[in-house]
């Protein structure tokens, strides 16, 4: 875990922390991919079902991550009075924070979280395996909202607490659509988890 954390931190630092000794000593990592990338060559339309339109903003009802074979129902979850966002107790479900943006909205961020279970069986067990370019879909009552992963990050709980606004803040305006934030825990060391895995995705 420590090695992974340092690696992650190094990569993130290298993306923009100019002047950092760690960055200067490390080989230059690839530039961050935050722009929309074209889909792979399309299958002929005649044999490929046309996905429904995204539709107007609405709460998500299902999370689909083809790469990880995730098809999890989404339920709404609220923020506790002490700012804790508890995923649904059923590890098969994921929760959409009702205080966050609805998929398709142009302000805020869509925040979805689910459990990782140490022995498997959590809806988001494999979330840290997502990489930039991977696709994520949120299904709502009004359509399907497709996203492309731009970043997969690790954050200690302290990072999350201290920089909650940076991660979950709802003031961002995005004409192309609110970004998706997927959160679970990661770094299980046999007794507890080291922190959160956070995946950021942009709408397609």
């Amino acid at each position: 875990m420590a090695a992974g954390l340092v690696f992650t931190g190094g990569v993130l630092t290298g993306r923009g922390l100019a002047g950092s000794p760690a960055v200067e000593a490390a080989p230059a990592p690839p530039a961050p991919t935050v722009t929309v990338t074209a889909d792979p060559p399309a299958t002929p339309a005649a044999v490929r079902p046309v996905p429904p339109a995204a539709g107007p903003p609405a709460p998500p009802t299902r999370l689909v991550v083809p790469k990880l074979d995730i098809k999890a129902p989404v339920v709404d979850i609220d923020l506790s009075s002490d700012a804790v966002l508890e995923p649904p107790s059923d590890p098969d479900l994921v929760g959409w924070w009702t205080g966050s943006a609805e998929p398709g909205a142009t302000q805020g961020r869509v925040v979805v979280t689910g459990h990782t279970v140490s022995t498997g069986g959590g809806a988001l067990d494999l979330l840290p395996e997502l990489e930039p370019g991977d696709k994520v879909v949120l299904v709502t009552a009004t359509g399907r909202h497709r996203y492309r992963v731009t970043d997969s990050l690790f954050a200690s709980y302290r990072d999350v607490a201290e920089h909650a606004q940076d991660i979950f803040g709802q003031t961002e305006t995005s004409p192309a659509g609110a970004r998706l934030i997927l959160v679970t825990c990661t770094g299980f060391n046999g007794r507890f988890y080291a922190g959160n895995s956070i995946v950021v995705a942009r709408p397609l």
Binding site: G9, D82, E102, Y157, T171, C185
Partner: protein
């Protein structure tokens, strides 16, 4: 504000549930507002119960009221803490508990156990309490074998006419010989103890506001019977890392076999001498009489061949966000009460939780949010990790019995800073 995806009834029920939970948490967690602590744990290294009379090592209990931790009880007591008893006279007892509050959420941990002399005590924060040293032994029961009796009809059972005729004139000598040989062997064995031999037996637990987990470790642990003049008879070797609530039930048939073998050896020698006048039927008579005596012995020791020892390893009892773990619980079953003193040995009992949350306005008051503040509340913690505890999940998928670990882990400052910068960089791009 987003529209709720569910019918009003569902939302209302959830809102009510949350409100209720919030009220409960506030009541339970607010320092001074209620008796229930925010975090709690306790540990007891050893409990011996003989004839319903317990002797134990005392209990260490840690509580946190949201402002301060209080620990009562003696950590790592001496064996003498158990008072005047003869079941264990050497070893290292460990019992420790801690309760704390992290991010207004109660956390607690405990560990307890027994090891031999020379064991090293380990902080409760490290999980288990003990690094084993020498082995320790506990007398978990005493066998009482002197009441076996053989009568004349037992000796003659099944003998044909020829053997009975040859034996008849010698019965006056044979019967006392059998009786005295039996008594000699059994008296020599005396009242052997059922010994629990262990390197270290210990449990540990931890609890957060969401749940609790626990585990046990049995290092080089087993049960044996030490039969004087015969030797050590191993009953069972216990696994090092047993799953929760592992049952080990054992009989003493190996003990009966060892005693029978010893009796047979002695009888063969003794009877060969007294039956010499019955030559050439001596060998047949010795074999037949031996079989009859052993059969009588087996009948009278039969209760020992039933299950007489009931051990539960890594015994776990769950409550609502709490757990009690006992590393080893050995009971002599009442069925064996004719032969064995009833003893119950419990080693390494740790309890953790339930823990609550400190009310938002205690112990460190935080500013009341300004309703005109343009910055809305956002999550500062997403405890999305679960420990899968065996049998914890119910069929409905509820996570009762699992633990969500939302604990802070101190990471390197460099890595933390890098990670934070990464978020800003990525999320503001």
């Amino acid at each position: 504000m987003p529209t709720a995806p569910f019918p009003l009834l569902t939302r209302s029920r959830k809102t009510l549930a949350l409100a209720g939970a919030g009220a409960l948490i506030a009541l339970a967690a607010s320092p001074g507002a209620a008796a229930a602590p925010v975090a709690q744990a306790d540990a007891t290294a050893l409990v011996l119960t003989v004839l319903s009379t317990p002797a134990d090592s005392g209990t260490v209990k840690a509580t946190h009221d949201g402002a301060d931790e209080t620990v009562v009880g003696q950590q790592n007591p001496l064996i003498t803490a158990l008072g005047n008893q003869s079941f264990i006279n050497a070893g290292t007892l460990a019992q420790d508990a801690t309760a704390s509050v992290v991010d207004r959420r109660g956390r607690s941990a405990a560990c307890a156990g027994l090891a031999g002399d020379g064991a090293t005590l380990v902080s409760v924060d490290r999980g288990f309490c003990l690094d084993p040293g020498d082995n320790a032994t506990i007398n978990a029961g005493t066998l009482q074998l002197q009441d076996v009796q053989v009568v004349q009809s037992d000796l003659l059972a099944g003998l044909d006419q020829t053997l009975q005729a040859a034996l008849q004139p010698l019965l006056g000598t044979v019967l006392p010989t059998v009786d005295s040989t039996l008594q000699t062997v059994l008296t020599g064995i005396g009242d052997p103890g059922i010994v629990l031999d262990l390197g270290a037996v210990q449990s540990q637990c931890a609890a957060t506001t969401n749940g609790a987990t626990g585990d046990s470790q049995l290092t080089d642990a087993g049960l044996y019977v030490d039969l004087p003049t015969i030797g050590r008879v191993d009953l069972v070797n216990l696994p090092t890392n047993p799953p929760p609530n592992t049952k080990v039930v054992t009989d003493l048939d190996v003990v009966v076999t060892a005693i029978s073998d010893a009796v047979e050896t002695e009888l063969t020698t003794a009877l060969t001498g007294v039956l010499a006048p019955a030559a050439p039927l001596v060998d047949q008579l010795v074999t037949a009489l031996n079989a009859n005596v052993i059969a009588v012995l087996a009948d009278q020791l039969a209760p020992l061949e039933d299950n007489v020892l009931d051990a539960t390893l890594n015994k776990q009892t769950r409550g609502d966000r709490s757990i009690e773990v006992t590393a080893l619980d050995v009971r002599v079953l009442p069925a064996a009460s004719a032969f064995v003193d009833l003893v119950n040995v419990e080693i390494g009992r740790s309890s953790c939780g339930p823990n609550g949350r400190v009310a938002v306005d205690n112990p460190t008051p935080t500013p009341t949010p300004d309703p005109t503040d343009p910055t809305p509340a956002v999550p500062t913690s997403v405890p999305a990790g679960e420990l899968d505890l065996a049998g914890g999940a119910t069929s409905s998928g509820d996570l009762n019995g699992r633990i969500a670990t939302g604990g802070l882990v101190l990471m390197s400052a460099l890595a933390a800073a890098c990670g934070v910068y990464g978020f800003r960089r990525v999320l503001r791009s």
